[in-house]
């Protein structure tokens, strides 16, 4: 850990064991290593049925007829539901725009769209019954890119749009368009000594969380339903589910089941409404578990993008201007495309101080798979393009690429293209300097890695155990990249979280209980929540209550926001509890010791102490049998919508910065890449749990590596998904993933709880362009598309 600037207000309870700043272990760790942790797909209930979804084999088709009679007649089949069985007039849902049908009606708009749902006694019975549903389709022409989507006479995905964005887009097949204009890019271009422009492309990445979409809906006696599900935001699910079922929200009781990763892919609904519909229809509990094939159709993906960029620079290495146009493919339904557009536009400039910019970002409606949230959320695509441009500009000017970036790096006080002044540390130059200073890994490690000392260990070479080279044709390259990501929900969204904190004496010990609706998806929120309660309440015993809708919304586990926002809510509720505890103490003991009324008091190690360290009373004696509780919403500072025409506005809560250095070895004859090391430096403001922070950085880095060299959902020109399996959609294995040294800076953001900065997404951004930069250095190729495939390197 390096530079540290910690706010002084951290002293409350700081001597209490297991508080913030320590690498305490996961509270769910033991259950997860013994196999007892109950993931959504592990749920079971007496008399439970299995649900299954029939999906469209076509990307765009009219539904001429649906006949479910044969499927319904199969032994063991309990229900088959189609659009006609939906119970209310609300038949669509969506996170931002309710344009997604619960079940298709009249038309399917993408490959894999749900058409019918089945409940049966055995999952195989349900699958076989689905094959007996007769759906007659009449195929329609598809739109699959910008040209086809905006061509004259192009079929419109949603001809009668009523959403707010529909009024200002240039074409009804454009979900949302956000320009950002600041300064005068055309005039600034006149001062440039070099101008570099290029078109870049990012393939469609999948979140590939390992725990498939799953949940269990249990019908209740009051006509409602209890839903146990893996999601990222219980209350957003609830808001979308209730109107479709025609139930008040309090009759749908949601509990978070164990979540096997998310990465954005669980923001949109998948099986939630379907399982509830089947449970309410059959009167029996219904479990739905997608298999991997279905999972590839069951959630949105990262937007594939085409990005055109132009930069100019002077001979002394100063960037004069930037112009860009970013086209994201949103697929058939809106999902979070409008917010992704806002992010891509507002972060398109990267972590650089450029006064004169002209930016346009938009998302299309097409017949491709719907795209939405994935870790990095619009910033990933832009980062690949602007960082590729930085390398080219540096090369044109004959400057070192790190030095060129440092000359143009933003810092605290820099204005973003939105006109927002960056008002907390922005150590872009510093994280690059640290990376550059790290020692490089030794060359030709395959020679030294052999057990006998001189043998070749093919496992250290491109191609690995395939034994495709012993070092011939292998060239090393080193590349750098840096990125900027926003933290929290932006553009005026009311981004709050709720925490209920209780303090009571159990068995003579003070015990805190923290209840929030935060979705623990693996990130370790439950670990830091307990740490915050220990620090704020000075107790060691903390229980984390299961996340459910009996408590107010915690917002989404996305946008790197939960430690900031739900962590902030817990801190806030703990402060309210602490104040009540001190009031009780003053009333009980104030007359016996003046310090109760005159000193600054802390809760520490289970006691009330003065800031001078004098112990006034154990918490157990202060509380006796009283229970103190606070249930409070907490908000970060507000943001503003971006102006529709100019993109100006205080759009983001906080920015976070990470940089990577990639060292690769490329078998130039076969086009195989081995990433040897992928170092990361990141400012995290304050590492509440250093072990978890490092885990987030290494995990995000690896997903960026996947996008660089292997991960892509291949969609045919006919808009069909070609590789919906882990056989054909590759994610990095432990053999593909290098050592990931991490250097953490802690420069406090005074606006945030404990000065922390959201961690999870920033490392996903710069990882990809750093790897590409290294491959370019090794091969001399331009490489304007990710993922890079062997044929791109060999030209075959």
């Amino acid at each position: 850990m390096g530079v540290t600037r910690t706010p002084t207000s951290l002293s409350q309870g700081s001597r209490t064991r297991g508080g913030i700043g320590e690498s305490t272990l996961r509270p769910d760790g033991t259950l997860k290593v013994t196999g007892e942790f109950a993931y959504a797909s592990d749920m079971w209930h007496e008399d439970m049925l299995w649900g299954y979804t029939l999906r469209s084999p076509h990307a765009h088709a009219e539904i001429v007829s649906v006949d479910t009679s044969e499927a319904l007649a199969q032994p063991g089949v309990r229900a088959v539901l189609t659009y006609d069985d939906l119970p209310t007039e609300v038949k669509t849902y969506g996170l931002e725009v309710p344009d997604t049908p619960v079940l298709a009606h009249g038309r399917v708009r993408h490959h894999g769209e749900p058409v019918a749902i089945i409940a049966a006694d055995h999952p195989e019975t349900a699958r076989r019954a689905a094959a007996k549903i007769r759906v007659e389709y009449a195929e329609l022409p598809v739109v699959h890119d910008e040209a086809s989507a905006t061509a004259p006479g192009a079929p419109l995905l949603h001809p009668n749009r009523a959403d707010d964005h529909g009024r200002h887009v240039p074409h009804p097949n454009i979900v949302h368009r956000q320009p950002i204009v600041r300064g005068d890019a055309a005039a600034a271009k006149e001062t440039a000594d070099v101008v570099v422009s290029g078109e870049y492309e990012v393939g469609m990445q999948d979140q590939a969380f390992l725990g498939p979409e799953s949940g269990l809906a249990v019908p209740a006696e009051d006509g409602g339903v209890d839903l146990y599900v893996a999601t990222q935001w219980l209350h957003a699910d609830l808001r979308q589910i209730a109107p479709v079922l025609g139930l008040p929200e309090d009759k749908i009781r949601m509990t978070l089941a164990g979540v096997g990763g998310a990465f954005g892919g669980r923001e949109d609904l998948s099986m939630q409404i379907h399982s509830c519909l089947l449970a309410l229809r059959t009167g029996r509990p219904v479990k739905i578990v997608y298999n991997r094939f279905e999972s590839f159709f069951g959630h949105v993906h990262r937007h594939p993008a085409k990005l055109w960029y132009e930069h100019g620079a002077t001979k002394d290495g100063r960037i004069t201007h930037m112009k860009c146009r970013i086209v994201l493919d949103g697929g058939a339904y809106a999902s979070t495309s409008p917010a992704v557009v806002g992010n891509a536009a507002s972060l398109a400039v990267g972590p650089y101080a450029i006064d004169d910019v002209d930016i346009e970002a938009l998302a299309l409606y097409t017949n491709n798979p719907p795209c939405g949230a994935m870790r990095g959320f619009g910033a990933v695509q832009a980062c690949f393009a602007y960082e590729s441009q930085m390398d080219r500009l540096a090369a044109e000017l004959g400057l070192d690429p790190v030095e060129f970036r440092r000359r143009n790096a933003m810092s605290q006080g820099t204005f973003m293209p939105t006109g927002q002044r960056v008002d907390s540390p922005a150590p872009v130059a510093e994280i690059l300097r640290r990376l550059k200073a790290m020692p490089l890994p030794p060359e030709r490690q395959w020679e030294s890695a052999g057990r006998s000392g001189t043998a070749t260990d093919v496992r250290a070479l491109p191609g690995g155990l395939s034994n495709t080279t012993h070092g011939e044709g292998v060239v090393r390259g080193v590349g750098y990249a840096v990125g900027i990501k926003n933290v929290g929900f932006s553009e005026g969204f009311d981004d709050y979280s709720t925490a209920r904190v209780r303090l009571q004496v159990v068995g003579g010990e003070p015990v805190a209980t923290v209840h929030t609706a935060m979705a623990e998806v693996g990130q370790g929120g439950v670990t830091v929540h307990a740490q915050i309660a220990r620090t704020e309440l000075g107790v060691t015993q903390v229980s984390i209550a299961p996340a459910d809708t009996k408590v107010g919304s915690a917002g989404s586990t996305s946008a790197s926001r939960q430690t900031y926002v739900t962590g902030g809510a817990i801190k806030n509720a703990c402060e309210a509890v602490r104040e009540q505890v001190l009031q009780i103490g003053r009333a009980r003991f104030g007359t016996y010791h003046p310090a109760w009324n005159t000193a600054e008091l802390l809760l520490e190690d289970g006691k009330v102490v003065t800031d001078g360290g004098e112990v006034l009373a154990p918490l157990a004696e202060v509380l006796e049998d009283e229970t103190v509780e606070a249930d409070l919403e907490w908000r970060h500072r507000p943001t503003e919508a971006l102006d529709v025409r100019t993109g100006q506005g205080f759009g983001h809560v906080q920015y976070s910065f990470a940089a990577h250095r990639a060292v690769v070895e490329v078998d130039t004859e076969l086009g195989l890449v081995k990433v040897v090391e992928l170092a990361c430096a990141q400012d995290v403001g304050k590492a509440l749990n250093p072990q978890s922070v490092i885990g987030q950085i290494q995990g995000g880095t690896t997903q960026g590596l996947g996008l660089a060299v292997m991960e892509e959902i291949v969609v045919s020109p006919g808009a069909k998904v070609c590789n919906p399996s882990f056989t054909d959609y590759l994610i990095p294995t432990i053999l593909d993933t290098p050592t990931i040294p991490v250097d953490i800076l802690e420069l406090a953001d005074e606006h945030a709880p404990y000065g922390l900065r959201g961690v999870g997404e920033a490392p996903t951004l710069s990882s990809t362009p750093a790897v590409l930069s290294a491959i370019r250095q090794a091969t001399g190729l331009a490489l304007k598309r990710v993922p890079v495939r062997p044929e791109h390197l060999t030209g075959t």
Binding site: D28, W44, V289, Q445, Q523
Partner: protein
């Protein structure tokens, strides 16, 4: 059909098994052992790794009928296996079957009531885990917790079974050996660094008779993770 086999040292009989059912389905849905995970059900991710007569296999690719008369060890049996190994036994099924009472066949999956009981363990239990609750864990399980190798945890059971087999087989595996042995187990959360730390830690502890607890890979100071200058960082695969 009826299938009779041993799971984690206990005899088990499953009736009315459909011919197409996998071992994974029988474990998860008929036996109440959902620890083996269903991440891909096509043999690509390793999350359902179990030992079949000692060999690590993907339970999703084994037809239930193939395990007739054989011995299976799942993540739920790792602690017992480690204990037997420490006592000089075999336990994997690679050297003949073991005794033990019949398991109740009524349990299936995780009931909703059971699922509700998950709560944070208090700090004392966490940090004192090596002396307290660790009695119930295999060394490799404790090492995964200590090294931060668990995030969402969905890959963890399969990795634990594979890593345990590797350490049993090789004692002190090199980093390249670890990467090779675990290359069939996908993890999406961790970037694998903490998993390497965990396996190194488990191997070190097993060599030291289970007493090595601070070999530099404890929480917050993992080798190869904390600092670019850490000596173990550059070994790679």
């Amino acid at each position: 059909m009826r299938v009779t086999f041993q799971v984690n040292g206990r005899p088990y009989e499953a009736d009315d098994v459909w011919e197409g059912e996998s071992l994974l389905y029988v474990l998860r849905e008929r036996m109440g052992l959902p620890g083996s995970k269903n991440a891909c059900e096509q043999g690509e991710c390793g999350s359902c790794t179990v030992r079949l007569d000692g060999d690590p296999v993907c339970a999703c690719l084994v037809a239930a009928g193939q395990v007739e008369g054989r011995e299976v060890v799942t993540v739920e049996g790792l602690a017992d296996l480690a204990r037997e190994r420490a006592e000089g036994g075999c336990g994997t099924g690679a050297c003949g079957s073991r005794g033990g009472g019949a398991r109740s066949t009524a349990a299936r999956g995780t009931s909703v009531d059971e699922a509700r009981r998950w709560e944070a363990r208090p700090a004392g239990a966490e940090s004192g885990a090596r002396t307290g609750e660790s009695a119930a864990l295999a060394p490799v399980q404790q090492a995964f917790i200590d090294a931060g190798a668990v995030q969402c945890g969905f890959c963890t059971p399969g990795l634990l079974v594979a890593a345990d087999e590797l350490i049993e087989r090789t004692g002190q595996p090199s980093d390249a050996d670890i990467r090779e042995a675990l290359s069939g187990n996908l993890c999406r959360c961790t970037g694998y660094e903490a998993i390497l730390d965990a396996v190194r830690l488990a191997a070190a502890r097993s060599t030291d008779g289970g007493t090595a607890t601070d070999g530099g890979t404890g929480p917050g100071e993992g080798t190869g993770t904390g600092s670019p200058a850490a000596p173990a960082a550059g070994t790679g695969a």
